[in-house]
Symmetry: C2
Amino acid sequence: MSESYAGKINRKLLKKQRIIAAAAGREPADLVLKNATYVNVFSNELLTADIAITEGLIVGLGKYAGKEELDLNGQIVLPGFLDAHIHLESALVTPAEFARAVLPHGTTTVITDPHEIANVMGVDGIEYMLQATEGLPIDVRFMLPSCVPATPLDESGAVLDYRAIDSFYDHPRVQGLAEMMNFVGVIAGDEQPVEKIVAAQAHHKKIDGHAPDLVGNDLNAYVAAGVYSDHECHDLSDALEKLRRGQFIMIREGTAARNLDALFPLLQPNTADRCMFCCDDKHPSDLLEKGHIDYLVKRAIELGADPIVAVKAASHNAARYFLLNNRGAVAPGYLADLTVIDSFDSFQIQRVYQRGVLRVADGVVNPFPVPKVDDYLHNRARHTFHVDTLTAQDFMEPRPRGILGLVPGEITTVDAGYSDRIDAEYDVLKIAVVERHKNTRHIGIGFIQGYGLKSGAVATSISHDSHNIIVVGTSEAEMAAAANRVAELGGGIVVWNNGQAAAELPLPIAGIMSDLPLEEVNRRLEAAKEQAFALGVNPGVDPFMTLSFMALPVIPSLRLTTRGVFDVTTQSYV
Amino acid sequence: MSESYAGKINRKLLKKQRIIAAAAGREPADLVLKNATYVNVFSNELLTADIAITEGLIVGLGKYAGKEELDLNGQIVLPGFLDAHIHLESALVTPAEFARAVLPHGTTTVITDPHEIANVMGVDGIEYMLQATEGLPIDVRFMLPSCVPATPLDESGAVLDYRAIDSFYDHPRVQGLAEMMNFVGVIAGDEQPVEKIVAAQAHHKKIDGHAPDLVGNDLNAYVAAGVYSDHECHDLSDALEKLRRGQFIMIREGTAARNLDALFPLLQPNTADRCMFCCDDKHPSDLLEKGHIDYLVKRAIELGADPIVAVKAASHNAARYFLLNNRGAVAPGYLADLTVIDSFDSFQIQRVYQRGVLRVADGVVNPFPVPKVDDYLHNRARHTFHVDTLTAQDFMEPRPRGILGLVPGEITTVDAGYSDRIDAEYDVLKIAVVERHKNTRHIGIGFIQGYGLKSGAVATSISHDSHNIIVVGTSEAEMAAAANRVAELGGGIVVWNNGQAAAELPLPIAGIMSDLPLEEVNRRLEAAKEQAFALGVNPGVDPFMTLSFMALPVIPSLRLTTRGVFDVTTQSYV
């Protein structure tokens, strides 16, 4: 039975009375962290007090007694960290696994854009992620994917207009519309992207941006349209242009893009309060080796930032931007999301509290229940491949096709001419993108140079942003076999050789996430990489991530779509 | 017929497309302010650009052509000013008159608490002010009165619990719950005030505070309860205690209370962004002589504040606090609420734009339509006196009563003993409070010393916070006559002598506001003061304002309520 309004007010009254009684010292607090040095984000100073916590909230700073007390002996208490923009799917694990990975790094809130899974499953993907994050010991908030498919050239699993996503704005954990990548469409005043913006505004929600290097009056148009932030700034002048026009700057340091060093000068008094931190994408090894938002805080301090400024960028500033007004500070009435460190110099995270509950002590995460996704969505996520069994014939093509020339260490490509056959000796391999959502049998075929494979084939269903199957091979038969194995797994990464999988990482959730623990995913991924290198893949190339970007028709110059090789520079098929 | 959701999105789409086209430079802007020097509140610097305005919004900063163009030749453009907390009623004029008075001072938004009129008319008073401010050329936003009556000792025109005000939260111009003066009740966890707070929070609204000198764990309890600001700080340490706990500080400089000089040190980099400006109360002469929020900006600069910091306290900081996220900055997508000054040194306001419309040029306010209040409310406001004709007998009292001893220049009083008769020679006058809302015939009687009247009587219906009739006299008959005249006028200020009104200011709107122009109200008020002084009132006393506070049973030590003389220190009737 749903609660009446008067009943709701009464429930909140009773809770508030307990909070007030504890704050006033009439009742003992649930927990008191005695002798805490804490970052005061309002006065920008370190202060010392007992921190009293009741009902998951900080209720007071002063002298307190609690049912439970812990003497911090001056250890430093920070507001829990907040990642302002991340695609959880990039970690290749479930949200619960992601939470387990980032909690020891002091993260208590992430703002996610379920763009990847929505490109596979549409609104079911959004709902899947909402359910899979409900009640986690980190608070996962959502920005709704704004660009599904990412471009009109893509063949994704769904096409989402503003009506499709509208009802999600009523969800209590939805904060707005995610990165509006279609800045060209916005500036042109195109109906679809602009409708999405006005609908988000009609719901009083935020709209995040994505507009690398946009300047001048075009930038004015994009900002005036209602895009409030950007996380794509890679140099200071780009960032300042946006900041001056009122955009909040999300300083990004993730696996694929790393902008903190370039944008560090923003963390000065005049501009710091308009900045926050985000990761965008974090791959398993990066997450395990470098950590999460704590890595940005530590790096910023290392570069010379005032630690309080760095901590605010990692917490308070983002909370205010997203109108999460009771988090991001150590103050009465704020969520007891707290990260305890030994000192700013060594920055060892000792404990992490989330809503007043101890989640991590000495690096060990306390067990927590994994959210259950309902049966429909569970099954839906595990049956996203709709593609008939492929044969060598499907990959045959008598006419010459363009060659995507890899550039070592980059995700850009060059136009390397054309070919009508595989020539592994000269490193001309065949590459294909197989549409896998709707069994259209659309298979885009081209060639690739610089990948280095000498034997077998490599296939993956992580293929931005539509997550079709992308496969590279030294023979059409092995390409078909590798792609078939990916489909058979319901998604994954497969290194195929000698008629069998030399290595594989199944990704049965929408073809992009594993249900295994992060460490295991990372182990299998590293093992698969090793196999790929053993088969000749160029050591300067990431065997899978490189392929994942080959189908994204926004990065110059040649890309491969389900409809063939596309020149991004000339915007035409070659 | 109400608009469908799809229809609303389509309407907003078409408007947004016009904004984008103008911002991108494809269409001429409605208005371009060429060569403007403007305050950039994000990067904290002065920049120069053309400011393009379309559909009431700033759409771009750069090079623009417009249907209308004005070369500012480097004049400085500031965001329009915002008063974070004011009781409009204190200006004694209609909201339209108030708007006409403050527009030339660069004010484009005020946040009002209709506390005074609500104490007279209850929710009808709130609705009256909402209607009387609809469509004004300043945007009047509301905080709902939290304390009607102000204390349980008061006999006001209404008693408002959380249910009474709840539906107003859905009004698009209601931002939250106004100053929670009952901090004692909040800290005690009393049902009524805490219910009001949780209801405001349930509507995702702000709650303003009012808690002079509150410190320690009691302050923690008040803040943890959900009170987000304070405007009662009168010294720096008080303000810092509150700011450190997360409250925003409204630096107040009004007619009755002036805190800017004491709080000026807050306008430093570490704390300035948690501060905003407000006036609380502005009386007619003060408004005419000193101005409004511009006075605080100028005074802050004079005291040594960075002009950009002062401008932000007057605009941007308050806008963010109240979640008015598209005002308080000169940037794309923000309301074109702009104040143009010649320089920070001379600070002459040249022009004021509100939503892109020129409202003031060279001190002259362009005419605007006065909002119409509906007939029911119009009549309701003009019939708020329910009190039978009074006679001298009503003010007779054989038993001795306490004497309120005035302190020159203060609104506090001392306990000056007791008396059983008027003795004008020794400056012992009779004072009475006549309940006038519900014809209860409750008349509180006492004496007052230090007022100085030698002949006749003075009566006023401005009597905080219940606005009963307060009257002081040298004879009971003249007290009755003066009070009757106030009731006959439907409210006002009356100086009575020789069997007639020597001077009077009618206040027919709820007994607290005039329908005359501000200048005329001020002229009559000054004339009445002159008459009061001519009849002997002590030159160190404001003849009317002093009386207005005599019935407020929260200021030490003796006050007079409708039930008799009350000692605030001992909380008992004497």
